[in-house]
Assembly symmetry: C2
Homo-oligomer: 266 residues x 2
Amino acid sequence: MSTSDNQTASLILIGAGPGDPELITVKGLKALQKAEVVLYDALASPELLAFTPANCKKVFVGKRKGKKAFSQEEINQLIVFYATRYKCVVRLKGGDPNIFGRGHEEIEYAIKRGISNITVIPGISSSIAAPTAAGIPITKRGVNESFWVITGTLSSGELSNDMKLAAQSSATLIVLMGMSHLAEIIQLIQTHRSMLEPMAVIQHATTEHEKMVRGNAATLLTKVIQEEISSPAVIVIGKVVDESYLFDQINVQHEFQHTTIKQNKK
Amino acid sequence: MSTSDNQTASLILIGAGPGDPELITVKGLKALQKAEVVLYDALASPELLAFTPANCKKVFVGKRKGKKAFSQEEINQLIVFYATRYKCVVRLKGGDPNIFGRGHEEIEYAIKRGISNITVIPGISSSIAAPTAAGIPITKRGVNESFWVITGTLSSGELSNDMKLAAQSSATLIVLMGMSHLAEIIQLIQTHRSMLEPMAVIQHATTEHEKMVRGNAATLLTKVIQEEISSPAVIVIGKVVDESYLFDQINVQHEFQHTTIKQNKK
């Protein structure tokens, strides 16, 4: 494989968004529509693959039932394999490719092998879309000044160190991949904030299966068990969670959520 | 104006994205295409207004040359005025409406006046898109576990308190509206992290005017002055900034950025 081959290769890394297929960007959709090859993960929005041309090769490189189809090294090699043989190769990842998505690792590998024509198209991360779709503002004037997005679980399986620091701050906390450490996270919030700190868990955000429970550091765990909320879910912590009760107070919460969710479907 | 009038009213709050008009979501674009009224701010992507129907009323409610066309209270009243008289009223805001965007304040006002059919469509925040388009991963395995998005300037004009806490953490920091406090922010980073902490400033992200300077806590201020970078710009702080040099090392940085930016234009 010569360097000159690689220099004509083209690779487009696209964020598919949080679940609702219509929450992909216009630019992302246009790139899908001209893709010759798509390498895709286990997406929250598999409907997006239908927008590729009929003869597009669709290569699944994600996890199914917790089992990886390929190792990260193999995925990197597959990307380069296709990007050096086809003119338009798309790597489609859920959410935003640069937020806990290993997108940059894959680009790095491709660049080091001579792929130079690379475009990155951002996507809406579930960390942003989940609270928004559930009526929780991420920031609100007079309530908070910042938000902190954290991965709950490190590749070692342990709780992130940043989680301990974050509990001590006043930022809105948005925790991805944190459900297996939920009890430990609640303990940190009880210690460093208060028993009454508002918290919410949102599962399958922006899809028809969306489900949310809200409470505080004292009540959330019981509610999560009662409502049978499980992974993948986004945990939101902070006073902004209480802003979503606005929709209850005037008895339109369900209508509001229903409207949002219904319109989120194709 | 009766309550029953208000109950048939419909309001759609849309995030326009970071600048590149094609970075709006498919769902956001579809809503624009059926809008009877659009209330819009001074957008980084005014081209989006061209997607509204020919007879759509376009009401500018943003700032021009630092001067507000309307107060927030007047904007709230205008939204309700139109939402009770037209079937499809769109409120179009830059970035994501729930990230420092006062979107929730406007919905709150509308709900309290009986508007119950409300949809919120998230957008890509410049806090996410600016680093991504500049080749900086927001998180990278083995480098960091979280990111913290902060408004640099409070409505009082002062530096945010969270900024002082954030400097003490190890999170990637993304500061919006922070340019007027840049020297103070750098001072905090020098004190709590190090003189060598990587930093970048990105102006007009995802548009043809995009401009970036990179350095560290010791060098950034001089570079920003030399390159004449000004507001609005996004400040990125943390070791992930250095990951973007990858594109320099193989001499495709400009090609990469050029590709990204070129494809970001319509």
